[in-house]
């Protein structure tokens, strides 16, 4: 039973990592926050599905904002014609594929999903 509890804790605390293309330079945590809040166009951010566990966790930890606040921020950018919100992909597999295919792309996935097709830029804890 104690083992089972630990397992549960492990799942809940699964680390999120920010990934970039193998050919890309590294990116800082501050740059990541700017990127996902539409304050920077230097990279192409890739998103997970809105409202998914990893999406909510990522925005909370990196930007300090919840889904509604993030939506309001991007609505401001969208409805002033300044940009379009990050493309949302179905799951971490799809995010990995998109990042592996584009040297400008940045994504975030569970640490356990990391493989050799991409590299980890930052760990979000």
């Amino acid at each position: 039973m104690i083992l089972a509890l630990f397992t549960v804790c492990d799942v809940r605390a699964e680390e999120i990592v920010v990934i970039v293309n193998l050919a890309a330079a590294t990116i800082s945590k501050e740059q990541i926050a700017d990127l996902y809040l539409g304050r920077s166009d230097a990279w192409t951010p890739i998103d997970q599905a809105v409202g998914s566990e990893i999406y909510v966790e990522f925005y909370k930890k990196v930007t300090g904002r919840d889904s509604a606040q993030v939506k309001a921020i991007w609505s401001r950018i969208l409805f002033t014609g300044r940009g379009i919100p990050p493309k949302q992909l179905r799951d971490s597999e799809a995010v990995k594929k998109a990042v592996a295919a584009n040297p400008k792309a940045v994504g975030y996935i569970e640490k356990s999903a990391v493989d050799a097709s991409i590299k980890v830029a930052v760990s979000i804890d």
Binding site: S40, D41, S75, F79, G81
Partner: protein
């Protein structure tokens, strides 16, 4: 309101038309190159003051007052299409229906421009854009983007932040941790002047704005100048400074502008606001005011003067939806075209107090 097709808009429309024709080729292409979105607000306002109409923005001729309930100050509906033509070239068209200067909800084109991206930090836009005169002026119709029911009206008194047809240059500079968004805009626009009925006086407009972002702190500086012949002659200059600190869990912000016009004199408007975010609920408070600084050649005294204390809350109760409730008290410090009201009647007196209750439902899709 007549939609005039200017050369810039015509060029933008033509290019977008071409893109759409191209996009028709396959469904795949449409998905990649065109995205549709929209927004809207459903609102009702109650005012307990019968001598004037409380309005949602300065161009509206009617609101809540003479008839104590009104849906017209805040209700609106907008639709937008974004076009991606190449990696560097994109376009946007936004159509809005909201009570206009004629008291109608006739749809108008608020945004229609082509954007060319020289580098990710250097963009040029050609066509129609909303003016960035004050904080949130370019998304004033998108209730979902605002922490309150509406922008404090006093800040918009000299300048409704209408659209301009012309060219716009956006340049982003990063210096250490500070990101600066510089904007220069040259165009033609219709100007709303205080103290007179909405006249749509055409004028040339020049805008310089600089937004400095350092983490969650942002400082906005703007200078805007209008020149137009006609009566009254438009020689209006607006200088604005705004500061926002928004770390996520709470926010404080202030915005101000000083406007100078020979005919109407100088006006100073400002507000401060703060709020906290308790999960999905975000209560807030606002103090806003406008004060005439002198008398222009028109001879109108205390033009626009009023002050407002407001308290309210935003509740993000579902995905892409919020609802807000706001209670405010407006004090008339002048009966010369008081900022928060249209159609100030002969029974209105300086010092009169108005209680206004507003409820809205905002959505984006």
């Amino acid at each position: 309101m007549v939609f005039k097709v200017t050369p810039a808009i015509a060029a933008a429309m033509l290019a977008l038309g071409t893109a759409m024709a191209h996009a028709d080729a396959t469904n795949d292409t449409i998905e990649k190159s065109v995205t549709f979105s929209g927004f809207g607000t459903l609102g009702v306002v109650h005012s307990d003051y019968g001598n004037a109409d409380f309005v949602g923005n300065v161009i509206q001729p009617r609101g809540a007052g003479f008839s104590s309930w009104s849906a017209s100050p805040d209700s609106d509906l907008g639709g937008q299409a974004n076009f991606t033509l190449t990696d560097a070239l994109s376009g946007v068209v936004q159509v809005l229906s909201r009570q206009d200067a004629n008291g109608q909800f006739r749809p108008t084109v608020e945004w229609a421009n082509l954007q060319y991206e020289m580098t990710p930090d250097f963009k040029v836009r050609l066509g129609r854009m909303l003016l960035p005169t004050y904080e949130h002026s370019d998304t004033q119709n998108v209730g979902y983007t605002l922490p309150w029911v509406r922008i404090p009206i006093e800040i918009a008194y000299t300048d409704a932040g209408l659209h301009s047809d012309g060219v716009d240059v956006l340049y982003r500079v990063k210096t250490g941790g500070v990101t600066q968004d510089l904007q220069i805009q040259l165009g033609r626009t219709a100007v709303d002047l205080p103290g007179v009925e909405f006249t749509s006086t055409p004028a040339a407009v020049v805008v310089f704005s600089d937004t400095l972002q350092y983490g969650d702190t942002s400082l906005r500086l703007v200078y805007q100048k209008y020149d137009g012949s006609g009566y009254p002659e438009v020689r209006l200059q607006v200088s604005g400074v705004g500061l926002t600190y928004d770390p996520g869990a709470w926010f404080v912000m202030g915005d101000s502008n000083y406007s100078q016009d020979k005919y109407f004199g100088d006006l100073f408007a400002w507000y401060v606001s703060g709020g906290v975010r308790l999960g999905r609920l975000a209560p807030y408070a606002i103090y806003s005011t406008t004060r005439a600084q002198n008398v222009g050649t028109s001879g109108l005294k205390s033009l626009g003067n009023d002050h407002t204390v407001a308290a309210g809350a935003r509740w993000d109760f579902a995905k892409n939806l919020d609802t807000k409730l706001q209670l405010q008290r407006v004090v008339l410090d002048s009966v010369n075209d008081t900022a928060s009201f249209a159609d100030v009647g002969p029974g209105a007196r300086v010092g009169d107090k108005t209680n206004v209750l507003s409820w809205t439902l905002d959505f984006v899709f």
